[in-house]
C-alpha cells in the first residue's frame, strides 16, 4: 500500500514536471498554430544560460552570494530568451505567415538544431550545475499510518507547485484578456488575424517570450534535477504524450495530461514492467495517450477539431 502510494505520488510529480515542459508546447501552439518542436532545445538553451551565468557572475564581479548570482543569472537568461524570441520572429516566423503546419513544424526543427549548436558553442557542452537550493533529500509523510511512511521528493513537490502556479496564471491570461483572445485568433487563421489589424509580429514575440520564460523555469527545475547538459532537450520527448493527451490547445490540459501520464507510466513500469523485462514506461505513455485519443481525438481538453463542409 505504502509503495503503491509512493509510486502514485511519484507519478503525479513526474507528471507535473512533464507538464512544465508541455506548457511551452501548448502556449505556442495555442497562440500561433505552430507545433514548436524547439521547445526542448529552448529548455536546454535557457538552462545552459542560467547555469553558466550563475557560474560566471561571481567570477566576474567577485560577489560571492549564491542567491544574488542565481537571481542575476535568471534575469539574464530571461533576457536571452527574449532575444531568442525576437530573432525567431524576425528571421523565421515572419517569413512563414500562412504556411501549413508541417512547414512550420519543420522550421522549428531547424531552430532546434540551431539552438542546440548555438547553446553548446556559447555555453559549452559539458555538464553544468544549477543550484537554486532545491532540497535533494526525501521526506516521509503518513508515517503514523503506514509503516515506513510514504516517501515524497521535496524537490519534485516544489517543482509541482511552481508548475501549478504557472498554469493558473496562463489559463487566466488566455481566457480573460483581449490579448489572449487575439492569440487564439492568430492560431486559427494568420491571414484573417492580420487583416483586422492584429500585429502578428508582436504577438509572436510575446508568445515566444512567454514560452521562453516557461522554458527557463522548466530548465531551471529540470536542470537542478538532472544537471544541465544536452540530454535536457530530450525531456521534450517525454512531454509530448502529455501535450496530446491534455489537448494541444489547453493550458489546464497540460497539467491533467501530465498527471495522467505521470501516474500511468510509473505504475505501468513498476507493476507491469517486471513481467516484460522493464523499460516500458516511455512507450506506455504514448500508448496511453493514444488510447485516450481514440475516444477524444482532440485530447481531453483540446478544442474540437472542426471539419465542416
Amino acid at each position: 500500500m505504502a509503495f503503491f502510494l509512493e509510486t502514485f505520488i511519484g507519478g503525479l510529480m513526474a507528471g507535473m514536471l512533464y507538464a512544465l515542459v508541455a506548457l511551452g508546447f501548448v502556449l505556442i501552439f495555442k497562440a500561433s498554430g505552430v507545433f514548436n518542436f524547439a521547445q526542448g532545445a529552448m529548455v536546454l538553451f535557457a538552462a545552459l544560460a542560467m547555469a553558466r551565468f550563475a557560474e560566471w557572475f561571481p567570477k566576474w564581479t567577485g560577489i560571492d552570494n549564491a542567491i544574488v548570482a542565481n537571481v542575476v543569472a535568471f534575469v539574464i537568461a530571461g533576457a536571452i530568451m527574449f532575444a531568442v524570441a525576437w530573432v525567431v520572429e524576425r528571421l523565421v516566423l515572419r517569413h512563414l505567415v500562412n504556411q501549413e503546419g508541417a512547414t512550420l513544424l519543420m522550421a522549428t526543427l531547424g531552430i532546434t538544431y540551431f539552438l542546440e549548436g548555438l547553446g553548446q558553442s556559447l555555453f559549452g557542452s559539458d555538464i553544468y550545475k544549477i543550484d537554486v537550493g532545491m532540497p535533494k533529500d526525501p521526506m516521509f509523510i503518513l508515517e503514523s499510518v503506514l509503516e515506513g511512511g510514504v516517501l515524497v521528493s521535496k524537490e519534485d513537490l516544489i517543482a509541482a507547485l511552481i508548475a501549478a502556479v504557472l498554469v493558473v496564471l496562463l489559463s487566466l491570461f488566455f481566457q480573460k484578456t483581449g490579448t489572449g483572445r487575439a492569440l487564439r485568433a492568430v492560431a486559427d487563421d494568420h491571414q484573417a488575424a492580420q487583416s483586422i489589424g492584429i500585429p502578428l509580429n508582436h504577438i509572436w514575440v510575446i508568445v515566444w517570450c512567454v514560452a521562453g520564460v516557461v522554458a527557463l523555469v522548466a530548465g531551471v527545475i529540470w536542470g537542478s534535477k538532472l544537471g544541465v547538459q544536452f540530454s535536457l532537450a530530450t525531456v521534450a520527448l517525454r512531454a509530448l504524450p502529455v501535450v496530446i493527451l491534455g489537448g494541444l490547445t489547453s493550458v489546464p490540459g497540460a497539467i491533467i495530461g501530465g498527471l495522467i501520464i505521470g501516474v500511468g507510466e510509473k505504475l505501468s513500469e513498476v507493476y507491469l514492467g517486471p513481467f516484460v523485462g522493464g523499460g516500458i514506461e516511455i512507450w506506455f505513455a504514448y500508448v496511453l495517450a493514444l488510447v485516450f485519443l481514440l475516444f477524444r481525438p482532440q485530447g481531453l481538453f483540446g478544442e474540437k477539431i472542426i471539419d465542416r463542409v
Binding site: F114, G117, A289, L294, V309
Partner: protein, 358 residues
C-alpha cells in the same frame, strides 16, 4: 527557349498520361538515370559509394515511402524509424531462420512485416488526425525500440541485442564490393520508384490525395477513408521496411535498435518536407539534402575556417556545423515552403517563359 511544351502535341491520352509528358523532362530523367547507372560507376570511389551514394539511395527509398504516407495521404508520421526497424529485423529473422533464403525474398518479407506493423499503427489514423496523429505515431517508434531490445527472439538470442549479417548474395553473385551494393540498391530503388509513381498517378493515388486535401468531400464522392488511409500506411511502410532492411543489411551489416531511433524518423520527415510533399522527385531531393549537407559541412568548414585564418576548436566546428544545418533548413523553408521539388518546378516554369521574366 529550350524547355518548351508547345509544339509537342499529344495524340492520345496514353501519351498525355506518361510520367513525363514533356520530351525534355523525359530526356533529362533518362540522362539522370543513365548517369546513376553508368556514369557514376566510372568515377566513384569506394568512399563515395559506401559513405554517400549507398546511404543516399537507401534513404531516398525510405523518404519515398514516407512521402506516400505524409505527402500523398497527409498522415504525418514520426514513426518511420520504427517501420525501418521492423523491416530490418523482420528480414533478419527470415534470413537467419530459413537458411538458404535468398536476399531478395528476405527483403520483401521484411517489407511485409513492416506493412503489417504499419497497418497496426495506422489504425488510430481512422480517428486521430493531424499533429495528434503525428505525436501518437511516436508510440510505434518507442515501442519498436523497446521490442527489439527486450524480446530476445527478434535478435536471434544475441546477448547484447545487436545483430549482424554477412555473405550476402543476389542471384548467386556476392554482394560485397561497394559497386555491387550500390547497383543493387539503385536497381531496387528504380523499380520501387516506378511502381510508386504508378500508384500515385493512378486511382489509388488520387484517393490518397483526396483524403489528404479534404476528407469529408472525399467520403461524399465514395472514397472510403479507411481503405485509403490503411492502404497508404501499408504501401508506405512496405517501402520504408524494405529500405530499413537494406540499411541494415547492405549499409550497416551489423546494427542495434539505436540505428533506427527517433532521430531517424525526424530526419525522414525532414527529407520529405524539405524535398516537397507529394512529389516522388522531391523525396530524392530531400534525401540528398539531408544526407549530403552534414557531410559536406563537415568537410568544407575546416578548410573554410582556416582560409580566413580562424582557429576554431573541433568542438566549435561541430557546433557550427549544427547551427549552419539548422539555419539552412529554415532558409530553404522560407525560400520555398513547398520544398525543393516546387523550387524545381518553378524553375522549369521560368525556363518555359524564357527569355521573358513571366
Amino acid at each position: 527557349m529550350f524547355y518548351r511544351e508547345n509544339g509537342q502535341f499529344k495524340t492520345s491520352y496514353r501519351a498525355d498520361q506518361q510520367i513525363f509528358p514533356v520530351a525534355q523532362d523525359r530526356i533529362a530523367v533518362l540522362v539522370l538515370v543513365a548517369a546513376a547507372f553508368i556514369l557514376v560507376p566510372l568515377f566513384a570511389s569506394d568512399y563515395l559509394y559506401r559513405a554517400i551514394l549507398i546511404p543516399l539511395v537507401i534513404m531516398s527509398m525510405a523518404a519515398l515511402g514516407v512521402n506516400i504516407l505524409v505527402g500523398y495521404c497527409g498522415q504525418i508520421s514520426l514513426g518511420s524509424g520504427a517501420f525501418m526497424a521492423v523491416g530490418a529485423y523482420g528480414a533478419f529473422n527470415f534470413f537467419v531462420r530459413f537458411p538458404g533464403l535468398p536476399l531478395i525474398p528476405a527483403l520483401i518479407l521484411g517489407g511485409l512485416c513492416a506493412t503489417f506493423f504499419g497497418i497496426l499503427f495506422g489504425l488510430p489514423s481512422l480517428r486521430v488526425k493531424g499533429l495528434y496523429l503525428a505525436v501518437a505515431t511516436l508510440a510505434a517508434q518507442f515501442f519498436s525500440d523497446w521490442m527489439f531490445l527486450r524480446i530476445k527472439w527478434f535478435t536471434n538470442n544475441s546477448d547484447s541485442g545487436s545483430v549482424s549479417v554477412s555473405h550476402l548474395q543476389v542471384l548467386g553473385m556476392p554482394l560485397e564490393s561497394a559497386f555491387s551494393k550500390y547497383m543493387f540498391c539503385l536497381a531496387l530503388l528504380a523499380v520501387i520508384a516506378l511502381l510508386a509513381k504508378n500508384l500515385v498517378r493512378g486511382a489509388i493515388g488520387r484517393e490518397w490525395m483526396a483524403i489528404r486535401d479534404m476528407d469529408v468531400a472525399a467520403a461524399v464522392i465514395g472514397i472510403r477513408p479507411m481503405y485509403a488511409k490503411l492502404s497508404a500506411f501499408a504501401v508506405s511502410s512496405f517501402i520504408i521496411g524494405v529500405a530499413g532492411a537494406l540499411w541494415a543489411f547492405v549499409h550497416l551489416s551489423a546494427w542495434e535498435p539505436a540505428a533506427f531511433s527517433v532521430e531517424v524518423s525526424l530526419r525522414l520527415l525532414f527529407m520529405v518536407i524539405i524535398g516537397g510533399l507529394g512529389s516522388i522527385m522531391g523525396s530524392f531531393f530531400g534525401a540528398a539534402f539531408i544526407v549530403l549537407l552534414p557531410i559536406l559541412l563537415n568537410q568544407v568548414l575546416p578548410p573554410l575556417f582556416s582560409l580566413f585564418g580562424l582557429d576554431i576548436s573541433t568542438a566549435g566546428l561541430s557546433h557550427t556545423e549544427l547551427m549552419i544545418f539548422g539555419a539552412l533548413i529554415v532558409w530553404f523553408l522560407i525560400v520555398e515552403p513547398h520544398g525543393l521539388a516546387k523550387l524545381w518546378s518553378t524553375g522549369k516554369q521560368k525556363m518555359r517563359v524564357w527569355p521573358f521574366p513571366h
